[in-house]
């Protein structure tokens, strides 16, 4: 019973998110997107379903997603299919700017990981920026 509800919820959320992202990509003034991810309980862990890379203690030149190779921000490197992050609309290559209000542009890799995996938080609200968004803006401005 619970499973069905959750699947239902996932579907609804997914539809909403698709709609929102379409809106976003068409809207020429949006450079950043707010994504709310509800953590999923797997055993004794709360997972979000994506992987991050980057950090001020990492070598930015090895980031395959950043345009500017000196950008030491936190990027989403992987999104687990059908996981909470994908459902919420997070995409690979997104740059995470904020997590629940905490800045993520000037943090170490470990600090970033910790801010996402706080045990007492069920929901993380991310502020992300996406190349496609920026490009869309640039195109619309040219």
């Amino acid at each position: 019973m619970v499973e069905w509800e959750y699947n239902n919820y996932l579907m609804v959320v997914k539809v909403l998110n698709d709609f929102l992202s379409k809106l976003n990509s068409q809207c020429s003034c949006v450079l950043q997107q707010r994504i709310e991810i509800r953590k999923l309980r797997q055993g004794e862990h709360l997972i979000l379903g994506f992987s991050i890379g980057g950090g001020i203690d990492q070598d930015p030149g090895q980031n395959p997603f950043s345009e500017d190779k000196s950008d030491k921000g936190i990027y989403v490197t992987r999104v687990t299919p059908e996981g909470p992050a994908e459902v919420a609309g997070l995409m690979m290559g997104d740059k995470v700017m904020q997590v629940n209000g905490w800045d993520m542009t000037m943090v170490t890799h470990d600090q970033a990981r910790k801010r996402l995996t706080k045990k007492n938080e069920d929901v993380v609200r991310l502020l992300v920026t996406r190349k496609s968004l920026e490009q869309a803006v640039k195109h619309s401005m040219m």
Partner: protein, 672 residues
């Protein structure tokens, strides 16, 4: 006349100071605490000496050192004064309480009165990373902007300072080599670390004294102290002596012309930060780029904070005990000499054994999981016995001890309770004894012209050609091949033997080019082959080459089909990049290198493909997602070149995982 005003202010300051000292002395007398008074007097003498030195010296270094001792003395004086004040307040409160109560507060249960033991707290290897930017940061007068920095460490009333370090752009970190030990710290200690800095370019000439004095006076008094001073200087304001109980006017001391240190950053460490290894802590930075004493800090400080509670290093209790032998009826007792120290109760046959450092007969663990109770009176003996239960791997083992008399038993129980109290207060410090190296007797301060930074330490000789390196490495490979033939190959060799294709199979992972649109550089730079295809942790050395890996498939293929030769390479890649050299130097340590053959310089200059040799990345740390592939997490090029390979075993994988995580050149990825 302005000069008169400053002289006037100076006089007033001095008078206030004298009054303050009188007040402090009165307090000390009333408390009958001559100890603190002596310390204050000592510090004041030191301070006077430092002031005189500062006024007299002409050398900048001397002035900075003298200013540092001045600041330390001042801080110590303030600390002693506030401690004195606190003691006075406590005394007054107690008297008031007693008067109103009429009786002394009764002793509560034994646990409430128990105070945890004190311990030694040591902080060492302080390192503060810096973050220099490329942009013009300082008002550059053509010279290297230098600052003098040092740290002040404070636990309670104990204040220590580190040596002074000169900081300029060539430094990547500020390192303080001192080990500072605080001998009597309680478990609730707060270690305050303060970083002071001072610009070392000002002119400290004696001229223009009044203006300098005025600016020093106004800047030397902090905002709160200045406010207090203004209040005190108001005619009709209450005198310091009537401020008993309230904050006394604590003056920072005489203002002296000379270099002045400012607080740049601070942080507080406590028991939760104590660990037997290096840790990074955040710093709170005060000040900004506009200040003259600004040094661009990364925002964190690394240090090793260790604590040795006395219960772990000293004998808390010792005496004769009788231990009941398990089994047998009637029970037999063995006489032992027990010593409670740390997390163990050592039982020696005789007292002399302990003094002679002979191994104890047996050891009973007394740790957080131990349960101790005094059992009912044993019908066979007169005194109560003590039962100590421990869990050894799921099984409960109980030792029964008995002391000679009731008082002894009581004393032992007290000692055990005290031990438990200490362990609960000192938490992780009682798991294992942390090592604290006592600082060696202080040598006279060596003034080094430039503190070595990592970049200075790495010696890269221009005569070091890569060819010499390849020679060494090929020799080593040959040696290893010989050895492998003999059957004793190093473990990593099997990595190459694993794949069905043998060592000739290229194990290549692709790296996405930095920017597929950027034009390739000159031949030299584009040939920056990631020389060390190190098998262990350099999983993701990128070549700076902007070779369009993603473009012509034929060139791609060409690069990959190139057989790898373990013996002398066909081509000698010429590269001068620092990255490569650094990795090479590391490669020597790892003792093995997979050589990659690159296209020779003579071939097409526009599309050389460096064959990147990287151990197959099962690591999450390798960042080799090609720009085209959107496969998540898949780092294998096998789909692209069709060469099968097998994954190395999980043990090697985990070792490489660890190495990769520790290797700063990897681009870590974490799953959340």
């Amino acid at each position: 006349m302005p000069m008169d005003r400053y002289a006037d202010m100076e006089d007033k300051l001095r008078i206030l100071e004298d009054l303050n000292m009188m007040y402090i002395r009165q307090i000390a007398l009333s408390l009958q605490d001559s100890d603190i008074q002596k310390k204050i007097d000592h510090e004041i003498r030191m301070r006077d000496g430092a002031c005189k030195l500062l006024a007299a010296c002409s050398q900048r270094d001397q002035a900075l050192e003298a200013a540092k001792s001045l600041l330390t003395c001042n801080t110590r004086i303030m600390a002693y004064m506030s401690e004195l004040q606190r003691m006075k307040e406590a005394q007054v409160m107690q008297r008031v309480a007693r008067r109103s109560d009429g009786t002394r507060s009764s002793d509560a249960g034994p646990m409430d009165d128990r105070l945890p033991c004190k311990g030694k707290v040591a902080i060492s290897d302080l390192r503060i990373p810096l973050m220099w930017k490329d942009t013009e940061y300082f008002k550059n007068k053509g010279e290297l902007h230098r600052c003098a920095v040092f740290c002040l460490l404070q636990v309670g009333g104990e204040i220590h300072d580190t040596d002074m370090v000169m900081v300029d752009r060539t430094l990547t970190d500020i390192c303080f080599d001192n080990t500072i030990v605080f001998s009597e710290a309680s478990p609730g200690f707060e270690l305050r670390v303060e970083l002071y800095s001072c610009c070392s370019e000002e002119d400290y000439s004696a001229g223009s004294a009044p203006r300098k004095l005025a600016s020093k006076l106004s800047s030397s008094l902090g905002r709160s102290a200045g406010k207090k001073l203004r209040v005190a200087m108001d005619p009709g304001a209450c005198s310091p002596t009537s401020n008993a109980g309230a904050a006394t006017l604590l003056l920072p001391g005489p203002a002296v012309a000379g270099p002045k240190y400012h607080l740049l950053a601070h942080t507080s460490l406590s028991l939760s930060h104590v660990q037997d290894s290096f840790r990074t802590h955040d710093l709170s930075i005060s000040g900004n780029e506009e200040c003259s004493y600004w040094v661009p800090l990364y925002g964190s400080v690394c240090c090793r904070l260790a604590a040795q509670p006395h219960c772990m290093t000293q004998q808390m209790m010792s005496g004769c005990l009788k231990v009941k032998q398990l089994g047998g009826d009637p029970p037999s007792w063995t006489n032992v000499y027990g010593v409670l120290k740390g997390t163990n109760l050592f039982c020696y046959h005789r007292q002399e054994d302990m003094e002679a450092n002979v191994e104890p007969a047996f050891t009973i663990a007394i740790n957080k999981e131990t349960r101790i109770r005094a059992s009912e009176k044993d019908p066979h003996s007169k005194a109560q016995s003590i039962c100590i239960s421990n869990q050894y791997g799921g099984e409960e083992v109980t030792h029964t001890l008995s002391a000679d008399s009731r008082e002894e038993t009581h004393r032992w129980m007290e000692a055990f309770w005290q031990q438990f109290c200490d362990m609960s207060q000192w938490k992780q410090c009682c798991d294992d004894l942390m090592k604290i190296e006592l600082p060696s007797p202080r040598k006279p301060a060596l003034v080094t012209s430039k503190q070595g930074s990592l970049y200075h330490e790495i010696v890269i000789d221009t005569s070091d050609d890569i060819s010499t390196v390849t020679d060494i490495l090929t020799r080593r490979m040959q040696e290893l091949e010989l050895r492998s033939q003999l059957g004793t190959s190093p473990p990593w060799m099997s990595l190459f033997e694993e794949s069905p294709g043998g060592p000739r199979t290229p194990r290549l992972a692709r790296h996405s080019p930095r920017s597929p649109h950027r034009l390739p550089h000159s031949p030299l730079s584009s040939l920056r082959c990631p020389w060390p295809g190190l098998l262990s942790s350099d999983a993701s050395l990128t070549s700076d080459s902007d070779s369009p890996c993603s473009t012509s498939p034929c060139s791609r293929h060409r690069g990959w089909a190139e057989p790898l030769s373990l013996s002398s390479p066909r081509f000698r890649p010429r590269t001068l990049s620092l990255d490569a050299k650094l990795s090479t130097l590391r490669g020597r340590g790892y003792g093995g290198v997979l050589q990659c053959s690159c296209q020779p310089p003579s071939s097409s200059s526009l599309a050389p493909i460096p064959a990147q040799c990287v151990p197959q990345a099962t690591l999450s740390c390798s960042s080799s997602t090609s720009s085209n592939s959107s496969s998540e997490g898949s780092h294998s090029p096998s789909s692209l070149d069709g060469t099968p390979f097998s994954r190395p075993s999980s043990a090697r994988r985990s070792l490489r995982n660890l190495r990769a995580k520790l290797d700063p050149r990897n681009w870590l990825q974490s799953q959340v």
